[in-house]
Subunit: 860 residues, 2 copies
């Protein structure tokens, strides 16, 4: 990924320099790690984080490949003032690339070397031009090509104080002035409660100064560079953040932002808020689950299924191989289903829909608070200019490719899910035929679990492929700005990964068991495969298993294998690449400088994968929460680990990324918002169509003779006359149950064989369908209304912050007026001398020298 | 209403002075009207818009009551420098109020005079304190209590140039600098299209310089006062804006903003955008209506109703008095219904839902563009401080009162609507009994129309009452800031007026004809009144009549009577109050000064009533558009008049309001957004439940034997055996039709008398209900998705504006860097002298005198 250092101006326009494009390989900020034992004293460092004069700090390090270390080494020198020599050398090498003058021994090798040379020279030109631009902006550079790592050159950059000040002023950074004021938070009572809460949660706060509640805040006006605490940063971050032992503590967000910049700070703040918000959701989810457990024995429908007196004979589940079966055998599934399909689930999905809104609101407020604390309130995201000017016609092929490829990939996902369905159907039929009773009894569980695991593995593999495809497609489109590139990439990746993760779940929730047909008129796919039916108590159980396996599996595999294993492997490979064996390496390790060591760390590849993982998890937690109340708990457990894992990765495993300013989490917020909107409608459908909630309600209030659930099971089963089987589909062993079956039952609302319109959808079917649909409308609109109400009720800016902003404004006015007063007195004297100044002539009066209102803390 | 002039600082905090509170009666800006014949030359004015020195302009005029013109008149003097005298006088009058020293003749009159005096003195103190504060901020005042209007004193205020500059700088107003740049809009093709459109629409643009497309724009940085064009403003506004003859032209928004300020400018811009957007909606609406007209003869259901061969006998419409009737008599209604209830209506409501979204988007872009053109991009709405500190306990009674009163008022509205329903039922029954055949044949039309008119009159009367109640309730709540006051007031008024306007319509759309019961088991209210039924073809027709009368009537009465008539009446009354008869007045009129004449104009009461009227209209246009496709046309015609009416009012009838800065239309945008959301669901319900669209579709695709609509009417009618009538409800004249009726028909989906469950809801009912509900879900979610998509597709900031903002930024950077360059060269010299400056010591270095980057156009 290209990383922007900061804008370098050329030809009177704002140029953005991409380091990768300029022939440099990597850029990373000097990491201030005191963990590796090199205890650097700030005055006499071991040449590590300081330039060769031992005074100027290294702020950034650029690394690049050099082909012939021997020939370039001589150039290792300070060249802050040698632009003449550089220009001379450039013109020389240019001529050199056109016509090499040096005689070579072997013509073939010479030609190859020349090609390499040409390529190398081209790179060097660009590098040198880039370095020249850096010098022009006032940065101070030092080359180090004689490092202990062969083939790698380093360019250390020092940003002098006045350059930092200029850029800060230009970016309108705010800085604390000497003026401080009391921060009084809310009324007395609120303040007391706040203090009490802070006292109670004291052990949860990391032992970092920055997290203490401050009673005074400096009035911030221009800009600042927080340098003073940075040397302590890493050690503190390592101990108080990037460690599993502090998993119960809040994160030291202020410190993270100081060390990594606002963008990464916001990610961890967001992850923290999300994890924190998962706690109540997990608790309520567990309670709902426990309620299901507690009431499983009082559940009349499952009692009726398990009651051996209700001697109900069911129609066969597959053609020929399967035979009639007793409903009683589904007793276990029915009881298990109740755990996830009870009235509490409805409450829980409303709760979770509101939870999602509350989460978004909470995050907005937290973001606002961070913006205020980090003095970003006035900061506007900078729109970058267009790099490439392409017309629509130029872009059309790329867009077409994107659309076609995306559709194709989605079709692939669908095909794979369909394949898994066929696997399930065929395995089930095969197992039915097999004669091992043990195999037959465990048929359902076996098939479900293996299918879910296959799905999981496919999802994880496709995830990686899709990420690569999305990146390729976005590159094809040549977006105008980096921001646009990132957004397009995220959008594509999101769609593909989302479809990938949720297609099997959506199938289970909404299609399985609905496209079955009826006995005597089944629906067949791919020749003779009959579509799957659900267990008697609905598909909710299977949906639940699928969700559980996907969530747990994805998190375990992706966290452990991909986030811990693969980086370690890569690191190993990188070391091997630099052609050293372990012994040499260890020896060298002691003599290596800081930036040379950091070169072996992994590069920072952006926050998108981290966010994406969380968004998909958020989808799992909110979208199908109606069928799996334990999802928030699993997510919570995962995230507690995830935070520390990411922290470890950022502190220890990766090169320190360039700090980037950001006010918000950007497109991710919109994706979250979209998901929480979709969640409402999905949950409405899960409750009304996947669960048996509505049919039970309708039975109880419309059809039940005594107003109880007794007789519900009988009501949901239709009658089928076995003489109406299509020829060739009758069971091979009709006497399997030991008696002759004339009428079998199946789960559907259809007219009985003896009605005037046999096997047609019955009035009950339409009534229940209307009830289901009405529930969807009511649920969706009520939850949406409640969400909007909550959104409206909670102000986006926390009260105390808005009060403080107001206070700051008044203080600024005060300062301004004081200064004005002095000036007015002076002006009055002037006025006495020159008694008449017409308004129109005031324009022409010479500008008076005047200082800016609050420049006391200025750095000049 | 309290009007804020500008903040006056006292005790180190930002005080907002409310003029009314300070004893002054009105404040208004000096209107610059050259229309009344007093042609003021800018150098020697007839003492009108200038202070007595003839040089300093009068910028604001305060008017207040004075009790004893004779005794106060002596104080008419400039008192810019007489604070000592004033203080002396104040202490004197204070003593005077405590113990009057002057001997009085009659003790009774003396006591009364003393009381009045005390009250007067109190007012004067506050006035004087206020005036002192004004002087302190640097304003220049001149009192004029010897005017020709007895009892009214005027305080003329002049804001000197340097005070304006200070305030402007403090408010961070932007002003054009001398640096101008080319505005290149979009690519070549886009630019050409834009120019072409501008050429074509040239006659539509008002003849005002400000509206010409500018190819250069000045780079704006600090602030400005646009004074130069203002004298021309009124005449131009009068000719090119506040006149019905220019109704087809765009509004000169720039000029409006210059004269009235941003807030009023935004209102007219919004009204313009709304009216403009109504044009396509009106055209499509008319086409939909014409489609209905064209297809009325091909409509099979109405053909079947009108066909005399279908000899269908309907059950009586009321108990006893009514008898059986032939379906054929409903032929006219059925044909008329088709005009508003045809498949095109469905298309039209989807169109209007998207139209609403497009309108909001279009407005957002227009607002952004105006923000840019008016240089408001950096302007932040100022949050005012708290004036009153009240705890929750203090506020509780007020909140309770609000909730209770609001509920009560809503209940009153419901009761009145119910009353109108009873009126309709009883009149109908009475007319049925009457023996005049002419009366009977016109029963339906008469009842519908009179009821609608009664509803209209009640709505208009209640509107006025509710506005007063909302204001009273908001005053009770003591909101913290003016903004909060306005928002609360608007919110309450909106709820009450909305409920008031839409309750009868909602009743007609969703409840009428649904709570009827069935023959033999009718639903009775208030003793023996049977609930109303709908005409055979649904209630859509009546809904349509109600909407039409409400819209037209409201607009005609409120526009003509309230907006034109009442202000004229008020003006008349005000003149009479000032105790002059017409002759004297006319004589005086010639000698009156400008501000004295303006005193007789109406005060400006804010924009809320104007916005509210439009929002209710927007509700009419979007909410029930499915039933009344001509609504946008009516709204368009009304708005074309409304713009010029409002313009005339603002230019001619009202005192010139204080200009207020605003970036957006505030809470109104949220209300519009809310309405357009509600519109989606309401239209979904209107189409699926009020119209016959879904039953027709279901019949055609599920029940029709030949796939056509033939037989639909028969399908919608259930059978009733007349022997099942409840005793005493049979018709008195069973032989009315000339033959004996055994089975009559009624509109419902119920089982026939001969089924096993007679008169129960049939399977068709449930199937159609399910289809209706499914349609609501699909419609709502599809339209919401499309709206979100449109919202996402259209960028909030127009492309050309964002390009220009980017360009401005680059130009600013350029200026900044140029300055920096010079400084760096100077700094380098310094550096050579003092070669080492550590970053940490830079803080302590003395601040160098430096000018601000772009201060060339500063006013000093």
């Amino acid at each position: 990924m290209c990383v922007r250092v900061f804008p370098i101006r050329k030809n009177n326009s704002c140029h953005v320099i991409y380091l990768r494009a300029a022939g440099h390989q990597q850029v990373y900020r000097r990491p201030m790690k005191n963990l590796y034992g090199d205890d650097v004293s700030p005055l006499y460092p071991r040449l590590g984080p300081y330039l060769s004069d031992g005074r100027r700090r290294v702020d950034y390090v650029l690394a690049y490949h050099i082909q012939k270390p021997s020939s370039v080494r001589r150039r290792s020198s300070r060249f802050a003032d040698n632009s003449f020599i550089r220009r001379l050398r450039r013109s020389l090498s240019m001529r050199g690339s056109q016509a090499p003058l040096q005689p070579k021994e072997d013509p073939e090798i010479a030609a190859q070397e020349q090609r390499t040379d040409y390529h190398e020279d081209d790179k060097r030109f660009r590098r040198e031009e880039f370095e020249e631009n850096l010098l022009e902006t006032g940065l101070e550079l030092e080359k180090d090509e004689g490092s202990k790592i062969p083939g790698i050159g380093f360019l250390k950059i020092h940003a002098p104080w006045n350059i930092l000040c200029r850029e800060a002023e230009f970016m309108k950074l705010k800085m604390p002035t000497k003026k401080v004021y009391d921060v009084k938070q809310g009324s007395n009572l609120v303040e007391k409660i706040r203090l009490f809460i802070h006292k109670v949660t004291a052990p949860l706060h990391p032992k970092v100064d920055a997290n203490r509640p401050q009673s005074v805040k400096s009035l911030s006006h221009p800009f600042s560079r927080e340098k003073q605490h940075l040397t302590r940063c890493t050690r503190l971050l390592y101990e108080e953040w990037a460690s599993y032992s502090v998993f119960y503590k809040y994160q030291p967000i202020g410190l993270i932002r100081k060390y990594f910049g606002e963008k990464i700070g916001l990610y961890f703040a967001w992850l923290g808020v999300y994890t924190q918000m998962l706690i109540p959701a997990a608790i309520v989810g567990v309670i709902v689950f426990l309620y299901g457990c507690a009431t499983v024995d009082d559940n009349i429908p499952s009692m009726e299924i398990c009651d051996p007196r209700n001697n109900i004979t069911m129609c066969p589940l597959c053609d020929r191989a399967c035979s009639y079966w007793k409903l009683m055998t589904a007793c276990g599934t029915a009881r298990a289903s109740h755990l996830f399909d009870n009235p509490a689930t409805v409450f829980f999905s409303i709760f979770m829909a509101l939870w999602a809104v509350l989460f978004m609101e909470h995050w907005k407020r937290r973001q606002m608070r961070l913006n205020y604390i980090w003095d970003l309130t006035g900061f506007g995201e900078e729109e970058e200019g267009e790099k490439v000017k392409l017309t629509c016609t130029d872009r059309l092929p790329a867009y077409l490719t994107t659309v076609v490829t995306m559709c194709f990939m989605i079709a692939v996902t669908f095909a794979i899910v369909f394949g898994v369905i066929l696997y399930r159907i065929s395995i089930k039929a095969a197992l039915h035929i097999s004669n091992y009773p043990a195999a037959r009894s465990n048929i359902r569980a076996t098939v479900k679990t293996t299918a879910a695991i296959i799905n999981l593995i496919i999802i994880i593999i496709l995830d990686e492929i899709y990420a690569a495809i999305a990146r390729w497609l976005t590159t094809l489109e040549v977006p105008k700005t980096d921001k646009s590139f990132e957004e397009r990439l995220i959008f594509k990746t999101f769609i593909l990964k989302f479809v990938n993760a949720f297609t099997p779940i959506v199938y289970l929730a909404f299609f399985r068991g609905r496209l079955v047909g009826r006995p005597g008129n089944y629906l067949y796919v791919v020749g003779s495969y009959r579509m799957e039916e659900c267990a008697h108590a609905g598909c909710l159980m299977e949906l639940c298993i699928q969700l559980c396996i996907t969530m747990l599996g994805k998190q375990l595999i992706q966290n452990n294998l991909f986030e811990i294993g693969i980086p370690k492997l890569k690191k190993l490979l990188r070391r091997r690449k630099s052609e050293m064996d372990t012994k040499q390496e260890e020896e060298l390790n002691k003599t290596l400088q800081r930036h040379e060591k950091d070169h072996f760390l992994g590069p920072f590849v952006g926050l998108s994968p981290e966010y994406m993982e969380m968004i998909i998890q958020f989808g799992m937690v909110t979208l199908f929460v109606a069928s799996f109340p334990l999802a928030p708990l699993f997510a919570l457990l995962n995230n507690i680990i995830e935070i520390r894992l990411d922290a470890k990765k950022f502190v220890m495993e990766l090169r320190r990324p360039i700090a980037a300013k950001a006010k918000d989490i950007g497109i991710w917020y919109n994706l979250l918002r979209g998901l929480s909107k979709v969640a409402v409608i999905v949950n409405a459908f899960v409750i009304s169509f996947t669960s048996d909630f509505i049919p039970r309600l309708v039975y109880q209030y419309m059809y039940s003779p005594d107003g109880t659930m007794h007789g519900f099971i009988n009501h949901t089963l239709s009658y089928f006359n076995v003489s109406d089987f299509q020829p060739g589909t009758e069971p091979l062993q009709p006497m399997h149950l030991g008696y002759h079956v004339e009428i079998c039952r199946y789960k559907d609302y259809r007219e009985p064989p003896w009605s005037s319109t046999p096997y047609e959808l019955s009035k009950e079917f339409w009534a229940i369908l209307a009830a289901r649909l009405a529930f969807v409308i009511v649920f969706q609109n009520v939850v949406m209304l409640m969400s909007d109400f909550v959104d409206w009720l909670i102000p986006d800016i926390p009260k105390d912050i808005s009060l403080q902003i107001h206070k700051e404004k008044i203080l600024m006015v005060e300062l301004f007026m004081k200064e004005e007063q002095g000036k007015r007195l002076a002006a009055r004297d002037n006025h006495n001398q020159d008694n008449f100044t017409s308004p129109s002539s005031a324009d022409q009066s010479p500008p008076q020298p005047r200082s800016r209102p609050v420049s006391h803390a200025n750095c000049y």
